[in-house]
Symmetry: D2
């Protein structure tokens, strides 16, 4: 397995540590003939960049992506696409005591337990910067999906106990506040919540919601590579994720069948449609033609400035105070990561689905 | 991908439809030398059998498992283990209108959309009987894990709005009621809830909780094959699952970092331990030595006797009344499926982890 | 990896030992809608059956295949197809000393070295009977390929030093002799050679040639999943194979570029064709539209009746005389196995190739 | 599958085109704690560099490798290792007519057939430069294998009809001639052969032999991931390979069982050994403790200066004269590629084999 590979048909392998020479990804299996340039990818990378608001890290990360292979005369060639972002800031840092002390809520201890030692600089491989590779590859998947009329849109659904109010939901509002929250009022309340958290040197969790529209029925492979199963893995592979649900999700567990089932009907064109969407667009692991809706729960940023009890690598109890500035909330910067991972999941299964029917294969090959 | 394969090192391929000739699984990659007999597997299969209470289907399923390969003189040989359960009841049934009408909440429509037609008998491949293969393979994984001191225990955490009360939690109680609920009082309330649902021809959802104890730190592969990511996929591959969370899960999204972080300390042996377990035993996708705790949300049984609006295969609106007797709740029978899928996930990653360190590999081979 | 899985899109998992309860295979990823019945598969299995001539084992193997899943109303459903052949002869045998003594040229020693013990009955998993699963799955692949106009034909090219003479080559002759040799005269000479070998209690090796016609240009994935690379693995996974070559093969190593290169030209329809086929139908790992031609070298049957030096499991030198009747030549029975493995390889890559171009994907989905 | 990924446990993904920005590889699954620096990798890359003799391209390729991730404080961390070689010579070239005309023996036509267009500069992805990624990753695998006492040594076995004479075989001689031929006299004859070929604007094929020593019995996974099957795929994935054989190979097809079987005996330590090695170190797909010996046949360099018949992309017949200087023989530069691919194959299976026995797993984890 080896861990840093995702997808089968549209397969990516990511690499890189927070304070190493760079971060990157190779995409193996991108179809040929897709127009692609660095700007297509940079656009998404810029959305995950820090330094965009008071609630995200101030460190200026250049994060310029370079396409090293697989694109010729402006189009993908079908061969692997290598994408790379060089780390611009590689000065020798003072990493303080995080070299020796395990930060609570971080992977320091578990990396040591697994590998015997770790690259402690800025979190190494378990840093949020690892997502650059996912987003870069996801940008390609998104471009291909969009050419098929599939849209993937994620946004901040809640921060702490401040949630988007359905009646006030306005998608475009997400672009007007730095929390990517499609509800101006909730965004304001969330900002206040974050201010307060920062003041008491604390952080807050939140939920990201994602909607995939334009996806037709039939995508997803029973029984283990169901669309929701692949999305679940994709989302839980993102750092700090603690929960995932589709459609009514955990609420469905408290519901009755008569309320939770979505009745089938016909639309004006006589096509089968669900009259409601408690299922979140997936039945039996296969897309059902309704919008795919899911939510991902992120824990609060584990790096907080308050003193915390911990232990050192050599087994002494100690108190840790994490230095530097850290985002008090993960969700806003994760929004684009959720979109990227959703795109990678959907595209992989959509390509897989091309082999579902013998008659379609013969037709494809003109037989 | 092809969909019916799970795992890499301990890999299974399941097969079978509800009313076909049988259901089965092949396990490819089971280590040699594990004592194994049919009773080891039958024991778990019996736990998912229907007909055990008023709330589970009365149909008598024999479900006798047969080991066809990979075991010699009572021990696994390292070669594939084929397990098979022949369907005993294969009389020609009257499948009524489910051949022509899409049942709400089921995969009838999406299978047709994907494959062009479907085996409609009893749900075909998307029937709950599909889980027999998972449970049979999971029984082997569980046996191997148990020999290493790892215990996996799932139980019903809630049914509708009736949840186990932490103060009344008593694990062994799960064996004393047919709902596998470790709280006698909650079980009684849940039974009343189910009775009421059945009377109004309805069904109820619920949550299954699972605890993995005895697992050491270090299992799970960053960044995509994290332990929680693999568990998420495993759980979401089970029919009717709509949510999954680890540790504090969705509650973590409403928490503060200071409350959610688990401080590190030392136990009496000087070993690193987390003083709390909000993380649910996983940090950075790697087991941290605490118990792994997760919850899986199941929607209500979609097969309900009340009339429902639907459409036919040939595009006519209709009203469907599902015949026959169906469980009003999925969770109790899913408990053993959750254990099985958890075992398959953990074992696969535990074997993968053997290659994490060069020094351990040399030691393994005596170099 | 786990070893008994082959293919990605059209994936098979085989199971079974020579003298266990049965032999079988599960096919995961077969497209829906292919007409399929047991006779389609039995036809191929019968070709690998022993007892068809003086040069093949006399043991009567029933080898009746049963389809257990994945087919409904005479067509594949897109879900896994389980195929099974029960061993009819399971009486307790006297396995003589092969339980304790390592047979030269067999896998007895290496299985013990790897797994600690082995199912010694009739060779267990490393018996030729293992190929039943491959052939059964290959029959499905062949049927699908044939519906696309692709023909796969293997035959005996040489036995010992008796080779088919190009000037006498007549394909249909292969069905008129039990050696599957498309040259009547060579077949007669080979029979004499085999008679002589049997008399001196010896065995003979041989070469199987295979031709795939009707395959268009474009199938095969650079750089590791090249068509020839996948075929090479497929062939070398068959027991007793020691060599594999494509087109001019090893002769190309002694040739000059001017003689080995195939010039391009145009056929009467103005299509690009190669004027010769030294390449064997593959350029850069991708099918080039010419016939794919390859040869597979099989060593002599290792089970011979003459006394051989060997050692026992507990480390004593001894002399072994293998009892029972064994084919003096492997190739004729392997011909159908070569066809099956070739079909599995080509089909897998042909399905994979559907995702090679973005424009074709959009067209497939009507976008 | 996606094509540019090799291996499961020690998995690599290569990328890059001949005249793109660079060539590289990511290694996912390298065990932690292996000392590694750029010199370890550069050493092997230098062996495949052109410009080392009259028989290899004069173009000066810098080919300096850079480690971008996965190594910290001089040791591998267990996370992906990204290796990159930037192309130094990226001036705009005159690619002459190869943009429009299909070169015989090359993949120009098949890439167009598959992908619709191609990066024609210097062969693009199907250039020999693609092997840089393999060799770079292979250097890591070799280092780890060597730390376990496993040696992999390839050399030129024959060029055209000039073969190493067993009686004159001297391994160290391979380092004293630029053809990597372990026989001084044969090397001299081969040089004359190559001179003659160059004079008549032609090229020559050859065979590379490889010996893996120090590998214990037990590595290789029946039935599809046999050691020889994985090696066969690895070798056939190298450009220009047309044949592969293990041990006696094709000669075994003309042999008798009594001559081909390797008798077992005991060595001075009472260990089981084969008295001969016709099998080439592999029985039943599992290493048997003898040296693994295999040969790979390479066709003559397809780029020759003589005029060749061909066709253009737009379907006109033409005559092609390939410009520039090209090696008249591929084998000497492929020797290190064979070693690299052999190392990747063996290491992957050696890691896989760690899970073969339940008792060894328990022991590994101290249970």
């Amino acid at each position: 397995m080896a861990g840093s590979t995702f997808g089968n048909r549209f397969r990516i392998m990511t690499w890189g540590e927070s304070h190493g020479k760079g971060i990157g990804v190779v995409v193996d299996g991108c179809p040929a003939g897709l127009p692609l340039c660095e700007a297509d990818i940079q656009k998404l990378l810029d959305r995950r960049k820090p330094g965009q608001s008071r609630f995200t890290t101030q460190r200026q990360e250049g994060d310029r992506v370079e396409i090293l292979s697989g694109v010729f005369e402006g189009k993908t060639t079908g061969t692997p696409i290598a994408l790379e972002v060089r780390n611009t800031d590689q000065r020798s840092h003072d990493y303080g005591n995080i070299k020796e002390v395990y930060r609570p809520g971080h992977a320091d201890f578990t990396f040591d337990a697994k590998y015997g030692f770790r690259d402690y600089r800025g979190g190494g491989r378990s840093s949020g910067r690892e997502t650059i590779g996912r987003v870069a590859a996801g940008a390609i998947a998104l471009k291909l999906l969009e050419s098929m009329g599939i849209q993937i849109r994620a946004y901040t659904r809640s921060i702490g106990n401040v949630a988007v109010e359905p009646s006030r939901f306005e998608l475009d509002e997400m672009w007007r506040n730095r929390l990517y929250m499609p509800d101006a009022e909730a965004a304001k309340a969330a900002e206040a919540l974050l201010e307060a958290a920062m003041e008491r040197k604390d952080s807050v969790g939140g939920v990201c919601e994602c909607v995939i529209s334009g996806l037709w029925a039939g995508v997803g492979e029973p029984v283990f590579d169901k669309l929701d199963a692949v999305l679940a893995k994709a989302m839980f592979s993102i750092g700090a994720v603690k929960g995932f649900e589709v459609g009514d999700g955990f609420d469905a567990a408290a519901a009755c069948g008569s309320g939770n089932n979505d009745a089938f009907g016909l639309d004006e064109d006589g096509q089968v449609v669900k009259k409601t969407n408690h299922a979140g667009g997936i039945l039996g692991g296969i897309s059902d033609g309704s919008a795919v809706v899911f939510r991902t729960a992120f824990k609060p940023t584990p790096s907080i400035a308050s003193p915390q009890s911990s232990v050192t690598r050599d087994g002494k109890e100690t108190t840790l105070e994490i230095q530097g500035r850290h985002d008090p909330i993960i969700v806003p910067r994760a929004v684009v990561v959720v979109e990227a991972m959703a795109a990678l999941s959907v595209l992989d299964l959509l390509l897989e689905n091309m082999a579902a029917r013998a008659d379609k294969i013969l037709e494809f090959y003109g037989k």
